[in-house]
Subunit: 395 residues, 2 copies
């Protein structure tokens, strides 16, 4: 006789542990976004859904600071946006200049190389930014550069790359400017049109306050002309922006089934962004960053990113001598329910990464983290109190 | 003075209209899946999340009928799975045989061609299946075929492609067998190991009963050996299975941020699949399909797919002479809240596509659709009653 064991007795629905997400992303999500995400799906060609996509694209344009017609969410996580930009803008043999000062610049170079581009890396120490002069030199050394690509907010180090002015450099040499804004969008100033950026992409799980799963992307007319002028077809059918635009444009041609629930979530997250106002949101990220550092300084902790180039939403903290980097993170997670990130690459074991992104950038979260860190770093109650006082946050 | 108008007064949260989704997908979603999807996200490297991924992969293997280590959800919709399979298994110049009898076979051929493969299309009428003999001939005509690719359930026509036996054909000629199971998985028999399929992918929004956004994929060891033996790097960094496996394998190397909420949803959907049991679920799809056709016949409607090869989860219905194809669909949507799909390509204007997938395949839905169709096709109440009776569904 065959014994039938009901699965019900074996596997229970997953209930996530309580976590305060203060790492490099994903960040916390507003309950309104969760509520939107769990509303019943409708068809991706339903007139009501297409109207929603119009609104979502409009709100994305406002968030990017652009009027680019080609502004849409790619159906994949942030790295899919990177992949889509390179795959559409590059052809085999094209010359590309990439700023490399962390994981995501390194990734950009690899993505471009796999597509057959000739990549010229302009490197800087992890934690530093890439000087504009070095990028200009690299462009000048190319025969015919097609693309200049930099990371606005290097999530792996906390370095804030200046972007204004780079478009002029790129365009003077015939190249387009591409900017990775995965971590910066909606957390600090980013003005795609004013800064004349040609291609820019982001992720939903950082300062937009949405779960991961989509990559907002925008391309200038100049960039779309480059795509239209390609000699070869885009090697990825899935990420071919010409085909994707057929769905997001007025023709509404089916390309692939849109990730409907994620789009509900992003729509609601964008409502929250614009109810708060972009400038107010940037200010909130700045002030919580300043409060965090005032408190961290009291605990004797120091930043890893170079002065004047420290991101508001991603704070790299040097691990003090004698402190167990991974052990502290584990205690934070297990005993305090707080996630922060480790260092990567040359910064592995040397820094912690504290994210204050989107919904995570709240005064209460800064205070809770400071209290937990004070305790884990062996401070007494007075020290924890002083750190909280220095942050200026408690009322 | 600048007038500040709060966005709150301008844009309200999106509330989707009530829809019964009986089109080609997305299909209905169980409330437990929505509940899972809206639970708070945790980090993609959180130990609790990694445990969940282990369970999810195990349940995916059971669903595919495989023990393949390489079994995971790709972070994109169903077409991303197709893209991933071809991108990893093909190199420039490789020979591929593709069965083309609808939209998705056509898409397969295009995806492979864009990757630089030499594609040999084996065509059949839309609604027919591809004879194994024709595939064998095409393989024999190749110098060194690398891949045989077919669509198990052609969503654009409702044709059910026989797959058993094709592995032998492929392997005898040195090719791997790749199967598109976007619409078939969990709705009708599919046995990856027993049928010796090398690469198979699906989508979450059909018979798995989950929103769209992920593409479950599995690859045999033979296929992964092919990937390991590549001379060139996979052109898409985002879809490089070697890199993705680093996260889903025991090493847990960060590749890209996982779409956490979608993975919660898929995990819960797979629990529902296995609580019901795969065989019971297949039976449910079959019996509701039979009931639907008994009712449709009473209304004088006929199937478009060839006899003996009609899918249980996707029913193509010939539009009777004199009936406004698009008008009826519009009335169904607007007056009855029911979505069904139009024909595509050569079947545009000639068929309706009725999906009974996953949660959509329920007796109550069949009866509601039959009632609405009877009314819209001008039948009297007696006819509607007879259609319902013939379906054998009401109690």
């Amino acid at each position: 006789m065959q014994l039938i064991v009901s699965d019900k007795t074996q596997q229970a629905s997953f209930v996530p542990p309580d976590r305060l997400l203060l790492g490099p992303g994903p960040a916390m999500v507003h309950e309104r976004v969760y509520a939107a995400m769990s509303r019943p799906i409708i068809g991706h060609l339903d007139p009501a859904f297409l109207d929603l996509m119009d609104r979502l694209q409009g709100n994305l344009r406002r968030t990017f600071g652009t009027e680019n017609a080609m502004t849409l969410p790619v159906s994949g996580t942030g790295s899919a946006g990177m992949q889509a930009c390179f795959a559409n803008l590059l052809e085999v043999g094209d010359e590309v200049v990439v700023g490399v000062n962390g994981v995501f610049g390194t990734r950009m170079a690899e993505v471009a190389e796999r597509l057959g581009a000739r990549v010229r890396r302009v490197e800087a120490e992890w934690g530093e930014v890439i000087p504009a002069e070095a990028l200009a030199e690299a462009l000048a050394a190319c025969d015919s550069p097609r693309l200049l690509a930099v990371v606005h907010a290097e999530t792996s180090t906390g370095a804030w790359q200046p972007v204004q002015g780079l478009a002029q450099l790129a365009h003077d040499s015939g190249a387009l400017l591409m900017v990775d804004a995965v971590t910066s969008l909606a957390g600090c100033p980013l003005e795609v049109d004013a800064w004349d950026i040609d291609a820019c992409y982001s992720g939903t799980q950082k300062c937009l306050g949405c779960p991961p799963g989509l990559s907002p992307l925008t391309m200038s007319e100049r960039a779309m002309q480059r795509v239209a002028d390609r000699k070869s077809a885009v090697s990825s059918w899935y990420l071919d922006l010409g085909l994707i635009a057929g769905y997001f444009g007025s023709a509404r041609v089916y390309h692939h089934t849109a990730p409907i629930s994620m789009l509900y979530a992003l729509d609601e997250a964008l409502l929250l962004v614009h109810e708060e106002g972009l400038h107010a949101r940037w200010d909130r990220h700045r002030s919580n960053h300043e409060a965090l550092w005032a408190g961290l300084a009291t605990l004797g902790l120091e930043p890893a990113a170079s002065e004047g180039h420290r991101l508001w939403m991603l704070n790299s903290v040097l691990v003090p001598d004698g402190v167990d980097e991974a052990g502290l993170r584990r205690s934070l997670l297990e005993d305090h329910g707080i996630e922060i990130g480790p260092g990567l690459g040359p910064l592995a074991g040397r820094v912690w990464r504290i994210g204050l992104m989107g919904e995570s950038s709240r005064a209460a979260n800064v205070l809770r983290l400071l209290g937990a860190l004070a305790q884990l770093l062996g401070g007494d109650a007075a020290k924890a109190r002083r750190a909280a006082e220095q942050s200026g946050l408690q009322g």
